[in-house]
Symmetry: C2
Subunit: 360 residues, 2 copies
């Protein structure tokens, strides 16, 4: 007998309500056996990109392509968009790894690192003239620190010549991001989209295409997943190699479901649920909200310190009630909890968790 | 109403008989929501690599790791194993693309190209002293040309210092390959394993690890999917980033099913079915077997020229009877047929197709 559990872990996480039904359709329509070069699969790619464009308000001058993971995109951005150096805002493990990728790929990149749990004061940040790309995490999954959209707008105004690259893992489609303020954005589908892991989505504009085309004259920019290779296939609604076709299909179907429900409703729900969570944590004597400044508090990944002992007892209590809450990340694995607040998490589920926090 | 169809296309292809049941288990056991760092998922990785090791007789000194595709591995081999130059046996589109990857990644690689539909006469091939890696396709999916295992043994004896890299897409687990004759091998799971697309398997030995560790002293070898990054995680039965967890689980389950049936039985079935197919094509006045020399005829991807007109009428006849046969590849798209003969294709299915060929 298998337990009935709801996953509030920050990814992989609870599947979106409709995934299992869509999977049945995928089987029935032979989507797992057809050619990735078939007209039927081209329609799947078209559908998925159209639904994402609508849901996230992605302008027509942005390409939407598919990778194996967001991790892969860190490398592809370096290969395709950075000849010598990039600049990175680091406020946790994942934004640091974007920078680490640059260094491993022999770029002379630089960075600014915030105190853990804190955001950045842009007035105190100077980005070197040589930096070709500015890398930042919209929502740092390891610490629950979000970057306010106004800061991205400010960066755009201050550094109009630089490409702005946004790690949007565990954030999209929640933030009402204006794509005109950025040049490239990427995410993986096992967070807010509530899908099985194994697919990254990479979105980039014409400025990125131009940069890659300039770079390829000077140095290798990779091969099958380079920007020129992606756009050659994307123009035909195809992919450079046989991709995770099932996940591309599921992503389109879930984005369609989300469009049907409405992005404003999704945002309202997430705001409501995050308010409940932060309120409960604020009033609990057992926890302390990790990100103190509410401007930087993530709405989709809520992180709290456990005030005495470690998180094991609380996680057990939750699990007994069928809820799997996330541990802290890295060195905070035992001292913190992380609660995912994604579209797949119903108000009832969050209210149930809030009850547990209040009675703990 | 959706048609009931059986896919005899050379990948993506018919799903292995048990995939749908395993998928139900994956849902029930929350495999699509658990952390990729959890003990539960470590057990999945352990199970999958153990079952593959048994099925393919992979020695203990080989690592088994997971990528997004076989296409990705072409790049990873160049980054990790080739400082300056490799040598490639090209007998179709995919073996050529392995070479193209080398060139795109600025390696000064060389190659020998066979006439289409033909194998190689190793006595006429001289591999440059400088070549660090020999790349070859065990089964060229575009043309149905197989490389006999004896030729690999011969290459090993002649060039013991070079690393031998085997593209085994659409071949394994059929050939009784001796891993001691090679250094690295890779495949994707949507061919002979009958799984949804979106996972590559990369197998490499200690010589490859040593080469990568030497190379990293001199140049970038990539980051998250470099050999050092893979083995650091593989030693813990983990993966460098959140992988296609569902497919890793399904691969282990299908490999277990295949082990239960027995690799010798799988080989016997494939031999039997390929004999039926080649016999029917040989005796048909409408087709001509593309690979004339039986030493080089693939048992898993059977390719034939259509003698008059194109393949559309034959493909329609098959489809009316519920069988989806593959077109030719590239410029032969209309003039050839390709028939997959994988473990998922039952004797009854192949016998039905043979009947159609005989009565056509």
């Amino acid at each position: 007998m298998t337990e009935k559990l709801i996953f509030l872990t920050p990814g992989p996480s609870e599947l979106y309500f409709t995934v299992e039904d869509h999977l049945k359709i995928a089987f029935r329509e032979h989507l797992l056996s057809i050619s990735h070069r078939s007209a039927q699969f081209q329609e799947v790619v078209t559908h998925t990109t159209q639904e994402l464009r609508k849901l996230m308000n992605i302008p027509d001058n942005f390409y939407i392509v598919f990778t194996a993971s967001a991790t892969e995109v860190w490398e592809r951005i370096m290969e395709n968009l950075v000849e010598k150096t990039s600049f990175h805002f680091i406020n946790g493990t994942f934004s640091k790894r974007f920078y680490d990728t640059a260094i491993a790929l022999d770029r002379k990149s630089t960075q600014i690192t915030s105190e853990l749990g804190q955001g950045f004061d842009l007035e105190k940040v100077t980005i070197p003239d040589e930096a070709e790309v500015i890398g930042l995490a919209l929502n740092e999954t390891s610490t629950g620190v979000a970057m306010p959209l106004e800061q991205i707008t400010e960066l755009r105004a201050t550094y109009p010549e630089k490409l702005i690259a946004v790690d949007a893992v565990s954030a999209v489609p929640f933030p009402a991001l204006d794509f005109n303020q950025i040049d490239t954005l990427f995410f993986s589908v096992q967070k807010c989209f509530g899908l099985p892991a194994g697919l990254g989505v990479w979105i980039f504009n014409e400025r990125c295409v131009e940069k890659a085309q300039k770079l390829i004259q000077k140095q290798s920019i990779g091969f099958h997943h380079s920007i020129p290779s992606f756009i050659k296939q994307a123009d035909k609604n195809q992919t450079p190699c046989t991709p995770n076709m099932l996940n591309i299909f599921l992503l389109g179907k879930v984005a369609e479901d989300m469009n049907r429900y409405g992005i404003e409703n999704i945002r309202r729900d997430i705001n409501y649920k995050s308010a409940l969570l932060y309120h409960a944590l604020e009033n609990s004597s057992k926890f302390e909200i990790f990100v103190k400044n509410s401007n930087f508090q993530s709405k989709t990944v809520v992180v709290a310190d456990v005030l005495s002992g470690d998180n094991s007892e609380f996680l057990s209590v939750c699990r007994e009630k069928g809820l799997v809450v996330g541990t802290g990340y890295g060195s905070a694995k035992k001292s913190q909890i992380r609660i995912a607040n994604f579209p797949a998490h119903s108000k009832e589920t969050i209210e149930k968790l809030v009850d547990i926090i209040q009675n703990y």
